[in-house]
């Protein structure tokens, strides 16, 4: 999870800069190592910024990755349906 978090932050800092990244209020609250699915929380205004940052993250620790956003929701309960 630490590797994923670091990679997201690196990509976010590269795209949005320090000020923009601070506005996102990112919190990687869940990460399932087995099926590589996680939940990232952010402020409502920064949803699109976070999605683009996740998309521009092309590798984690040298391994090529492609992040797919399965869903966006205001509550954790409705995220389970995605």
């Amino acid at each position: 999870m630490e590797d994923v978090r670091h990679s997201i932050w690196d990509s976010m800092l590269s795209l949005l800069g320090e000020k923009g990244s601070a506005n996102v209020n990112l919190k990687v609250s869940e990460w399932n190592e087995e099926n590589n699915i996680g939940i990232a929380r952010c402020s409502l205004d920064s949803v699109d910024d976070l999605i683009v940052s996740l998309k521009t993250m092309t590798d984690i620790q040298g391994a090529r990755v492609n992040v797919l956003v399965k869903g966006v929701s205001g509550t954790l309960k409705s995220l389970e349906k995605c």
Binding site: L15, D48, I51, V52, N66, V69, V72, S73
Partner: protein
């Protein structure tokens, strides 16, 4: 949620996430596209005829070649639509040309290059909006590892200065217009 988008990817790979997909490389795609690069601009008609493509993309380079692209009615979509000025945007609008925002270009660039690209795209989008030129957002994916979901394409649209409904139209209504204009759907 994502499957609710009736999205069309004009330059990607075949996927369940999209209603229709056109592709330059993927033979399983619904429609075939061809990409004209700056060094082959002089042979557009010949290349298009030879490829038998349904949709024609041309990559922008400098003002002179952008003018040649916009003046050519065979080209449907102009990829990397910069640099352009107000006159070129007006011509593009008159000729029914569309501008393309490719997510892959933004993903694969870094630092100064990406910053300049976003800056140029924002300017082109502002001109396109003023002159009512259609904009399409495409993934540019060449394999499964480059697949972009419709929701992510909308996010790329907002990154380059589009409003949310405008970005949604750029993955739905606008590509549909191109396909209908060509009599493909």
């Amino acid at each position: 949620m994502l499957s609710n988008y009736l999205a069309i990817d004009l330059r990607g790979i075949k996927s369940d996430l999209y209603e229709y997909v056109a592709s330059v490389d993927d033979e399983n795609a619904d429609f075939r596209a061809v990409m004209i690069y700056p060094d082959t601009i002089g042979r557009i008609n010949e290349i298009v005829k030879k490829s038998g493509a349904d949709i024609v993309f041309a990559t922008g380079n400098d003002m002179a070649s952008n003018r040649r692209i916009i003046e050519n009615p065979i080209v449907d979509v102009m990829s990397r639509p910069y640099p352009i000025d107000d006159t070129l945007a007006k011509m593009a609008s008159r000729n029914g040309m569309f501008f393309e925002i490719c997510a892959r270009d933004i993903i694969n660039s870094r630092g100064y290059q990406r910053s300049r690209m976003i800056q140029s795209l924002r300017r082109s989008i502002s001109l396109a909006r003023k002159r009512k030129v259609g904009i399409v957002i495409t993934s540019g994916a060449r394999d499964g590892m480059e697949l972009v979901t419709p929701r992510e394409l909308v996010a790329f649209g907002t990154l380059v200065g589009m409003e949310y409904p405008e970005a949604k139209a750029a993955i739905g209504t606008m590509p549909r217009k191109i396909l209908e204009g060509r009599g493909l759907i």
